[in-house]
Symmetry: C2
């Protein structure tokens, strides 16, 4: 199939469109005329043997773009990696992506098979699908609209679309928390304990999807997480564990694309959640995976029934792809620790590892439960919890954590936000509950996770007795605008703290 | 609720983002720092008493944007209408749109009520929803996911969000064709006949959603369609009918926003289709509406069962909102007329109105059937079809059409595309079917409807006997690139013409 071809020099537009590849061309450009390109046309760009598909934005002739030149957004430039500014690129109409009919079929209530899943994920990773196509796919899979067979197909397709690491030995331990519980930052502690116990735990984590901080966001406050596979192997060989950001490793790259769409939409799907978790684990070479699943009315998993449902999905898919998986349900009725937001959570983690007098005991307990269960998966002698506690109390876990940070590029002490405001109870009574979703929203409006020190510091817990002037929480922000915005939201509706008058 | 406020001068970015409001701000701008704006943040902009919410793209400090200045995309500039370049605008975080939780509920399989529909449509029209939110809403309603109550709620909300015209008299006649049949351009003929008969038919039409030409695209080839309500009233008072583009009249403005998302996604929903049709009719003041519904395996409505289903939806909603509605099912197995694309379809329309010897008889018959049925809805004497035919044959309809065009701003003879290529049968046999979808796709790849003279001219019909070198159709394009692209697609897969060997 011959294609009409045309060339233009490409330059950097210096415009950040948040990962969506955009190309800017002038309305009077010969190529727009000849090819019939107009705004939002999908355009194929090839240079130096690499190609990508970008969305066209048309610049007026009086605009900033020189004649007969095309400019690439930051995401497009980074994906195409031209050798220099001004290099000639070839422009053409992309073939209509083969997967759009598979997506349409799913939108209209059909099922996809392994071949369709592979087609969709291949097109996704090659940037052949527009943001609207991706939003339609995410929506069509939302809630429980993926069955087990589709979830397995999606998991395999997502794994196959990226790198796979083989550690050459077993067991390779791993854990994952199904999110929704602000501050539940057990990972750095668990990795330190397991590695201190001699287990192999090459941990990759993700950044926040819809939460105020992902594990990678929190760890990044303390040490670089953007490792490539070579440096990850080096860290793991030296220390038995690592704390890497998975997004830098090309493990299940489709997952990052889906996250880019799910984050602004603020919803995802059970099936995609399972495929996201397990494709990353399979690609990372994990053989034994413990899933921490907090259950509570404002957590991601709200009821015992929902937890059973999701556990069944996870187990069914894990069995099919050869991963040994155990689900550990935990209390999800309130945030964990005191801090919510990258730096604030990092401070909690360090307090536990350092056995500080003011460490948050709930975070410590949860981390030890998970580390213990994971040790029992590797060596099923039922002594995991005890071993974990010993390693934490002896300082072995802290030493291991600092060694891992050193191997990854050094340790940094978390900072504190310059702008802070305390919210008080306003009435007398007892704190009966904290709304995870509202507290997370306040932390996000304050700037988390984009601003490392932004977030919320909890100053009271469920069960506490409070007076009207008792501080409940403190909002942390890096700018006055963000602080004001978060505080306005916090004061506008119901308080995230439920305070009931005592009888 | 107080808001942090900040000011920046705004200029035109001169970037066409196809109706999506985008604001460009520099990464080093004091306001980005103070407010915590980053790429894809939704930003509220207020100037001269008007406001809008735009998506932020961040420009690097070395980029084209002067320091401490914000630039607006063409869509954002036109929506805000600042009095001049450099005017100070106020920037703030928008309140989270109230309707996102209603959309999320729908995405997860819930139903929306009248209040939620109103909230969604109000936010949509105020540009408070992002393109991803809109894609999620369209997808969540896709297929048959809207029930009758939701469809009624959506229709009312869409009507209430814009202007409503009151003609002060009854009946106000109207027709609508449920699309999917390329070339089925009966509207200009029906309006000319009804107005010539003394009926009141203030017709508004839309542009193409996923087809190679909408009625407004075709009429625009011959006369201006971008009328405001005042000029529309003037034309209708003088001639009894008009041929206006509905999008310029603020009738059901949400419909145009939904279309902007549905077009690139290339799918819509039964419920949204009904709401789209009936909200426009209700807003336009129509009291008697005839729905032309072509049914065929590659038409929009594929089976008799689907037609019954859609008719039932249309009738149920019409009854509820006080419109008298009749559905006229027609043969949808092949394209109508010869031309597909704005100019080519306009030429077919003129051939019928002018009683040219080579007029397409199927287009003439369909237009007369519809005009007749519509006349019978107004005056139920069963003589509608006969009256319609007399008015066409006498030249009264042609004269009325020319008078309407003159009143709308003048008549232009349709042009012909400079680039053309004929596709032949390649084998001996009989044409048994034409695939509406493939032929529409070829016309779109050739440039229709953006390029007026682009499209496909059919040179054979089902039932014709052909030789290998018999021309089947001719692709028309305005540029060599588009011609090559359409021809490549046409030759790559199955031919849109099914040719079977004769026994």
């Amino acid at each position: 199939m011959t294609q009409p071809h045309s060339f233009l020099p490409i330059i950097r537009a210096g415009i950040d469109t948040y990962r969506q590849p955009v190309v800017y061309m002038r309305e009077d450009c010969h190529l727009c005329r000849a090819e019939g390109f107009s705004a939002l046309t999908r355009v194929r760009i090839e240079a130096g043997g690499r190609s990508l598909i970008a969305t066209l934005n048309v610049v007026t002739a009086e605009g900033w773009l020189p004649p007969d030149t095309a400019a690439l957004s930051i995401a497009a430039w980074n994906a195409l990696r031209p050798e220099r500014q001004g290099v000639q690129a070839e422009f053409s109409h992309p073939e209509p992506p083969a997967s759009t009919s598979a997506i349409r079929n799913k939108v209209f209530g059909g099922k996809f098979d392994a071949a369709s899943a592979s087609q969709i994920i291949t097109d996704m990773v090659a940037h052949r699908l527009s943001d609207l196509d991706l939003a339609a796919f995410v929506t069509a899979c939302a809630g429980d609209r993926l069955d087990i067979a589709e979830t397995i197909a999606l998991t395999r397709a997502m794994t196959d679309a990226g790198q796979r690491i083989d550690w050459g030995t077993e067991p390779v331990l791993d854990k994952h928390c199904v999110g929704g519980l602000p501050g539940n930052r057990t990972t750095p502690i668990v990795v330190a304990v397991i590695a201190a116990a001699g287990g192999l735990i090459p941990k990759t984590s993700s950044r926040a999807i819809t939460s105020p901080a992902g594990t990678a966001d929190t760890i990044e406050v303390m040490t670089p997480v953007d490792l490539d596979i070579t440096s990850m192997r080096r860290v793991v060989e030296a220390e038995g564990g690592c704390l890497a950001w998975g997004g830098g490793l090309d493990l299940s790259p489709a997952d990052d694309i889906l996250i880019r769409i799910e984050r602004p939409l603020d919803f995802d799907s059970d099936g995609q959640l399972v495929a996201s978790i397990l494709s990353k684990k399979l690609a990372a070479g994990s053989t034994h995976v413990l899933i921490d699943m907090p259950v509570g009315p404002t957590a991601k998993v709200r009821t015992g029934a929902a937890a059973e449902d999701l556990s069944a999905r996870l187990s069914a898919v894990a069995a099919e792809i050869g991963i040994e998986l155990r689900v550990h349900c935990s209390d999800g009725t309130a945030p964990v620790g005191r801090g919510i937001g990258p730096s604030l959570e990092a401070r909690d983690v360090l307090a536990v590892l350092r056995r500080s007098a003011d460490h948050p005991p709930d975070l410590r307990d949860r981390a030890l439960d998970i580390a213990g269960a994971l040790l029992d998966m590797g060596v099923p002698d039922g002594r995991g919890r005890q071993t974990a506690e010993t390693l934490l109390e002896s300082g072995a876990a802290e030493a291991k954590f600092m060694a891992i940070c050193a191997a990854q590029g050094g340790f940094h002490e978390p900072g504190i936000a310059p702008e802070r405001a305390i919210e008080t109870a306003g009435r007398r009574g007892r704190v009966t509950a904290i709304d995870n979703r509202r507290i997370a929203k306040i932390a996000k409006l304050a700037g988390a996770p984009g601003r490392q020190t932004a977030g919320v510091l909890l100053l009271a817990r469920p069960g506490d007795t409070v007076e009207p002037d008792t501080p409940l929480y403190e909002i942390h922000a890096e700018t006055p605008g963000e602080l004001a915005w978060a505080r306005d939201y916090a004061r506008a509706g119901t308080s995230p703290f439920q305070v009931e008058a005592e009888k």
